[in-house]
C-alpha cells in the first residue's frame, strides 16, 4: 500500500504541492486527473523518490521513502516502473537496448532470453519488429509505447504512468488500456495513472482523484466522480471553461 500524507513541495516562490493526501491500495489502479500544470508529474516523481518533498511523507509498504538512502531507494525502484510524460528514452540506445536496460543491469538473463522478453513487450505495445530502430526514428506515440514497454519490462509490482495515452489514436488508446487491464489481472500490478483522457480514465481506473490547486480535492469510483455534487469535479469532467476552477 502507498500512503501519501501531507506532501508539500515548492519550486522557488511557487508552491506546487500543498499537502497531498492519498492512499493507493495493493492491486488498485488510481487515476489522477487535473488541469495542466497543477503538479501531477511532480507528484509522481515524489512517489519514486526522484524529488524530495519539503514536507510530508510517502509511505510504501510501511516505510517512509523520503528518508531512504540511495541503496534502499534502488532496491525499491527494482520493484517499480515509471513511464515518463516525455517517454525519456535513451536516445543513444536502440529501442531494444532501451527496453532491455533494466534486464541487462539487474538480472543474469542471457542475451537470447532478454531479446525474447523485449520482442514480447514490443508486441504487447503494438510495435513488433521495432527492436533496432533508434528513438529519433520514432513518432511521438511510438516513443510513448516504447517507454511503456521499458516501464513494464522488469514486470514491476508498482507502475507509475504519466499520460500513457497522450498522443495516441483512439484505437491504440483502447489497446493500451486493454494491456493495462491484462497486466493488472495477470500480475496484480498496483498503478497510478496520470491522464487527461477521461474515457481511458473510466475504463482503467478503480478510483479517480482530482488534483487541483496543489491538493486532492475529490476522490472516488467512476460513478462517485460522475455523480459528485462538487462543482469543481463537474466542471472538470464536463470540460467547461466557466466555473470555480481557474486556469493557472
Amino acid at each position: 500500500m502507498i500512503i501519501i500524507s501531507d506532501l508539500s513541495k515548492r519550486f522557488g516562490p511557487k508552491e506546487v504541492l500543498k499537502g497531498i493526501n492519498l492512499k493507493i491500495y495493493d492491486g488498485e489502479t488510481l487515476v489522477i486527473l487535473g488541469p495542466s500544470g497543477c503538479g501531477k508529474s511532480v507528484l509522481l516523481k515524489h512517489i519514486i523518490g526522484l524529488l524530495k518533498p519539503d514536507g510530508g511523507q510517502v509511505i510504501i509498504d510501511g516505510d517512509d521513502i523520503t528518508s531512504f538512502n540511495h541503496k534502499k531507494l534502488d532496491s525499491l525502484r527494482m520493484r517499480m516502473g515509471m513511464l515518463f510524460q516525455s517517454a525519456a528514452l535513451f536516445d543513444s540506445l536502440t529501442v531494444e537496448e532501451n527496453i532491455a536496460f533494466g534486464l541487462r543491469k539487474h538480472t543474469g538473463l542471457s542475451d537470447i532470453a532478454i531479446h525474447h522478453i523485449v520482442s514480447e513487450k514490443l508486441e504487447m505495445v503494438g510495435l513488433p519488429g521495432a527492436n533496432y530502430l533508434m528513438p529519433s526514428e520514432l513518432s511521438g506515440g511510438m516513443r510513448k509505447r516504447v517507454g511503456l514497454a521499458r516501464a513494464i519490462a522488469m514486470e514491476p509490482e508498482i507502475i507509475l504512468y504519466d499520460e500513457p495515452t497522450t498522443g495516441l489514436d483512439p484505437i491504440m488508446t483502447c489497446a493500451i488500456d486493454e494491456l493495462h487491464l491484462s497486466l493488472k489481472e495477470r500480475l496484480g500490478v498496483t498503478s497510478i495513472v496520470v491522464t487527461h483522457d477521461l474515457n481511458s480514465a473510466y475504463r482503467i481506473g478503480d478510483r479517480l482523484a482530482l488534483h487541483y490547486g496543489g491538493q486532492i480535492v475529490a476522490i472516488g469510483t467512476k460513478n462517485e466522480i460522475i455523480n459528485s455534487p462538487d462543482p469543481l469535479v463537474q466542471q472538470f469532467i464536463r470540460g467547461e471553461a466557466k466555473g470555480p476552477m481557474t486556469l493557472l
Partner: protein, 263 residues
C-alpha cells in the same frame, strides 16, 4: 559584496567538482570489486574521444613542432648552437606544450560534447529515467567519461609529441639546414625520461579535469536548448581555466620533485 558572492560560488564549484570526482572513484572501485565495471562503455568513450580529437591534435602537434623549430632554429644557428635545437624543442614539447595544447584541444572538442550530451539527457528526463531503473548516473555516465578522458589524454599527448617531432625534423632539415642525425641525436641526448613522464602526468590530470567538468556542467544544465548551449560553452571555458591554473602548480611540483630526487 560581489567579491564575497564570487568567493562563495567558487567554493561551491570546488566542492561540487570534488564530490563528483570522489563519486567517480567510489563507483570505479565498486565496479571493480563487484566485477561489474562497465568496460564496454569505457572502450566506447575512449574510441570516441580518440577519433573525435585525432585530426585536431595531429594538426596542433605538427604545426607547434614546426613553428618551434623555426623560432629556435634560426636563433641557435646564428650562435652556432645547431646541435642543441632538437633537445630544446623536444623538451619544450614534452614538458609543457604537448600536454597543454592537447588538453585545450580536447577540452574544446570533448569537454563541450560531454556537457552537451549529458545536458540534453538532463533536460529530457533521461537522467531521471536512469535513476528510476536503479542505475546511478555517476556510475553509468561519469565513470566511463572520466577514465576515457584521463587515459586518452595520455595517449593523445604521446601522439602530439611524436607528430611534433616529425614536424620539427622536417623543418629542421629543409629550412634550417640541419641533418636529420644532428636533430635526432640532440633529442636523444637532452630529453630525459622524466621530462616525458612529467608531461604525461600533467595530461592525465588535465584529462580527469576535462571529464569531470564536462559531466558536472551537463548534470547542472537547466532550461531548454539555451541551457544546453550555456553548459557547453561553460564547460570549455571552465576546463581551460582549470587546466591553466592547475598546470602552474603541477609544473612547480614536478620540478621540485625532479630536483630533489633525480639530479
Amino acid at each position: 559584496m560581489i567579491a564575497i558572492k564570487l568567493l562563495k560560488d567558487l567554493t561551491n564549484l570546488f566542492g561540487s567538482l570534488t564530490i563528483l570526482f570522489l563519486q567517480s572513484i567510489y563507483w570505479t572501485i565498486h565496479g571493480i570489486r563487484t566485477g561489474r565495471f562497465g568496460m564496454k562503455n569505457l572502450m566506447e568513450q575512449m574510441s570516441r574521444i580518440g577519433v573525435d580529437s585525432f585530426p585536431m591534435v595531429a594538426l596542433t602537434g605538427f604545426s607547434t613542432g614546426a613553428v618551434l623549430v623555426v623560432q629556435i632554429g634560426y636563433q641557435f644557428a646564428q650562435l652556432g648552437a645547431q646541435r642543441y635545437v632538437g633537445g630544446v624543442v623536444s623538451m619544450a614539447m614534452a614538458r609543457e606544450l604537448a600536454p597543454i595544447l592537447t588538453s585545450i584541444v580536447v577540452a574544446g572538442r570533448i569537454g563541450s560534447s560531454i556537457a552537451a550530451e549529458l545536458g540534453t539527457m538532463k533536460i529530457t528526463e533521461q537522467i531521471d529515467a536512469l535513476e528510476t531503473m536503479a542505475t546511478d548516473p555517476v556510475d553509468y555516465l561519469v565513470v566511463p567519461r572520466f577514465w576515457g578522458c584521463t587515459f586518452m589524454l595520455v595517449i593523445l599527448t604521446v601522439f602530439t609529441n611524436v607528430v611534433g617531432m616529425i614536424g620539427g625534423s622536417i623543418i629542421a632539415v629543409h629550412q634550417i639546414g640541419l641533418t636529420l642525425a644532428t636533430f635526432s641525436d640532440s633529442i636523444l641526448q637532452s630529453l630525459k625520461i622524466q621530462d616525458i613522464v612529467g608531461g604525461l602526468l600533467k595530461s592525465m590530470v588535465f584529462g580527469g579535469l576535462i571529464g569531470t567538468i564536462g559531466c558536472y556542467k551537463g548534470f547542472t544544465t537547466e532550461g531548454g536548448a539555451e541551457g544546453v548551449g550555456k553548459s557547453t560553452t561553460g564547460a570549455v571555458v571552465l576546463a581551460i581555466m582549470f587546466i591553466l591554473a592547475v598546470n602552474y602548480f603541477l609544473t612547480v611540483g614536478i620540478n621540485n620533485f625532479n630536483m630533489a630526487y633525480l639530479q
